[in-house]
């Protein structure tokens, strides 16, 4: 087990103890940990921070899988930490990665890490790049060494909707979501639009659990939806594990989210929307290695390979696959526009007037605060 810090091999002993204690006395004299360490081999050093556990079958696992992929490159050294709360603790984690591991680029992957934690830390380390997952970077307001990357995951969610539309017998779908924020509403709407492109009579019931990790409420919602005759479930919470397992237990279909959950529901799993962070992180590593400037904003959908669909489950019919693959092709060549008028919201108001089209990159879509016709539920949590 090789273990190195910037001071070399760790060597337990009295001298280190004394050093540690005397460091307290030297408090006023030094700030931080001195210059970043020199590394023998010029490896690209990357640090990843997750808000939850690495193996949550969801958001955090998706990032961990990305980290694991980039870590297999022999010219990369990737370190990571899990369960880091969105408090001052994440600042300390970032600083440890920079000062102790010599990280050149930090990927704090949770939304809440950005403001104030990244914004506070980045100016102190102008040579380190802070890349945040979430698309919040604003050229006018934010430091140059901060950036954002994010994917239009509602594209594969739309495809899940198409498959769900084909597979549902009752015409009733269920969506278990955390809180009614624009990102979540956009996924719910895309899922519903995908399903209704197959059968315009389909409805989607929405339940908001009020938090990103509320397994008890998620299970309750899943069971109650199964009781109501809903036969395809999907979700937008940190870990879809509970929803997927409950659906399987109740003998109904489910679509995954964040990462591949097919092993949790071998019978009822249809497909799912996944992040493809492996590609994103390997791309970044290559940019650093070759000295290319890192763009502050990286976004993309299926075409750019930032998101993808999980493999189809064994019950998915050929017709459903064919339809979904045809739509995927349109996403890939850029001809697919999901949000175009006329489109009504679920209160009967016109949300997008006839003749208006919002392409995937349109900023208007990022403040979505309405649910599309066919969704049963309100944006009030």
């Amino acid at each position: 087990m090789s273990h190195t810090t910037n001071k070399g091999k760790i060597n337990p002993g009295r001298r280190r103890l004394l050093k540690g204690l005397s460091a307290l006395g030297a408090a006023g004299l030094m700030n931080g940990f001195g210059p970043a360490p020199l590394w023998a081999a010029a490896k690209v050093k990357m640090g990843f921070i997750y808000v939850g556990p690495r193996d949550d079958y969801g958001y955090n696992q998706a990032h961990f899988e990305g980290k694991s992929a980039v870590a297999t490159l022999d010219w990369v050294k990737a370190v990571d930490e899990e369960n880091v709360p969105e408090t001052i603790e994440v600042i300390k984690t970032m600083e440890s990665m920079i000062n102790l591991d010599g990280a050149q680029v930090i990927f704090p992957t949770s939304f809440g890490y950005f403001d104030p934690h990244i914004l506070k830390t980045a100016p102190k380390y102008p040579k380190v790049m802070f890349l945040h997952c979430g698309g919040l970077w604003d050229e006018k307001k934010h430091p140059k060494n901060v950036g954002s990357y994010f994917g239009y995951i509602d594209e594969p969610v739309y495809l899940s909707g198409v498959v769900a539309g084909h597979m549902s017998k009752t015409g009733k779908l269920g969506y278990i979501a955390a809180i009614p924020i624009p990102q979540v509403l956009r996924n719910i709407n895309s899922f519903t639009l995908g399903a209704r492109s197959v059968n315009p009579k389909i409805t989607t019931n929405v339940v908001f659990t009020g938090g990103w990790a509320n397994p008890v409420k998620e299970a309750e919602a899943a069971n109650s939806m199964a009781d109501q005759g809903i036969d395809v479930l999907t979700c937008h919470v940190d870990s879809p594990k509970v929803v997927v397992q409950t659906a399987e237990k109740r003998g109904i279909y489910c679509c995954g989210y964040h990462t591949d959950q097919s092993v949790l529901a071998p019978k009822g799993f249809l497909t799912g929307a996944e992040w493809n962070w492996s590609k994103v992180y390997i791309d970044y590593a290559q940019m650093i290695k070759t000295g290319k400037p890192i763009p502050n904003l990286v976004r993309g959908g299926l075409k750019e390979g930032i998101v993808k669909s999980s493999p189809y489950g064994m019950t998915v019919t050929a017709k459903a696959k064919e339809n979904a693959d045809a739509v995927r092709k349109k996403f890939m060549d850029g001809s697919m526009i999901v949000y175009q008028g006329p489109m009504k919201d679920n209160t009967g108001k016109m949300a997008i007037p006839a003749g208006t089209r919002y392409s995937q990159t349109d900023i208007w879509l990022e403040s979505m605060n309405w649910l599309v016709e066919g969704v049963i539920g309100t944006t009030k949590s």
Partner: protein, 347 residues
């Protein structure tokens, strides 16, 4: 003096014993025990950088631990630190938002007051329910945590929501001018000073005042306290208020020193970690300081363990759990060891 020696030696021995058990786990996981222990030390106390990391994590624990420790001295087991902290932070935010623009010193003092008063009232309600209605204080304080979090979510998703915070609903900011700074050139925020001062102050109150003695008497034997004419109800409610006030202050500091606005990050589990600190410190406000630093250090070292050994975050939770159980079990040893008995005073 013998008592003092005993109260140092037993926890130290317990700590060493816990590390031995923990070493077993580490060895079982196939890692080099000495290297892992050294890394824990390195990550927690091995350098000035690590010390700052540790102290920053210890600061909120000192205050939330008091929320359990003080009422426990009067015999109440309260686990509502999380709720009091959330309520304190929320009220401090409200105060900060509404006073934004006035002189910062005035705004910060008002925020501290509203954090202290609201957190105090939150736990005082638990004490009152216990005294007047005989509601179990452990259950009611736990349930109040959920109510506090629900109020927080309700306000940041509605009334207080800054419309600019799209995907992370948060309140309006309290303003940069009203933020608490760091201590000198360090990265440690002023919350540490609050923690140390409040722990010291409450230690003085408990150990050196009639009020403190009355509290211990109620905790020792509530019937005897009543018979000797103490206003038991009033004292219990005041103690609860003081405990809740400390947690409320912790909430205010989280807002004023770290976040600058209220959102779900306020509910990060410091209140629950504080319960652990209070139990290990045996409800002694002064002992809370080193215990909070120890726990802060263990949490700080988790990062190094993960990054250097690929160990999961649960490693330090295992260590925390072992220490907690061993120290609680070691409580049975007090007064039974002959080494610590004054000579000539054999049982």
């Amino acid at each position: 003096m013998h008592n003092f020696m005993e109260s140092i030696a037993i926890p130290t021995a317990a700590l060493v014993f816990s590390l031995l058990i923990f070493s077993g786990f580490v060895a079982f996981s196939g890692n080099n025990v000495l290297e892992v222990l050294a890394a824990i030390y390195q990550g927690a106390f091995g350098s000035w950088f690590s010390w700052q990391n540790t102290l920053v994590r210890a600061a909120p624990l000192m205050l939330t631990a008091l929320c359990t420790a003080l009422p426990a001295r009067s015999g109440l087991i309260i686990i509502g630190g999380e709720g009091a902290m959330v309520v304190g932070g929320l009220c401090a935010t409200l105060t900060g938002i509404s006073l934004n623009g006035l002189p910062p010193f005035f705004v910060i003092s008002s925020m501290a007051c509203s954090g202290v008063l609201s957190g105090g009232a939150w736990i005082a309600a638990v004490g009152a329910l216990k005294h007047y209605r005989n509601v179990n204080e452990t259950i009611s304080s736990l349930l109040l945590n959920y109510i506090a979090i629900a109020i927080l979510n309700f306000l940041i998703l509605g009334l207080l929501r800054d419309p600019a915070t799209l995907n992370k609903p948060s309140s309006f900011p309290i303003g940069d001018a009203n933020m608490l700074g760091t201590i000198g050139t360090t990265s440690i925020h002023a919350g540490l000073i609050f923690g140390l001062v409040v722990c010291g102050l409450l230690w003085f109150v408990i150990r050196r005042t009639t009020f403190g003695f009355s509290i211990d008497m109620i905790g020792g034997n509530i019937r005897a306290a009543q018979i000797s004419g103490l206003a038991v109800g009033k004292l219990i409610i005041i103690t609860c208020f003081l405990g809740g006030a400390a947690a409320g202050l912790a909430g205010m500091i989280e807002i004023a020193a770290v976040h600058g606005r209220a959102n779900t990050s306020l509910n990060a589990g410091y209140g629950y970690a504080g319960i652990l600190v209070a139990f290990i410190a045996r409800y002694n406000p002064l002992a809370i300081i080193p215990v909070a630093i120890l726990l802060g250090g263990i949490r700080a070292s988790s990062g190094l363990l993960q990054r250097s050994f690929d160990l999961p975050d649960a490693t330090t939770l295992v260590l925390q759990g072992i220490i907690f159980i061993v120290i609680l079990a070691s409580g049975a040893v007090y007064g039974r060891l002959n080494w610590f008995k004054p000579k000539g005073d054999s049982p």
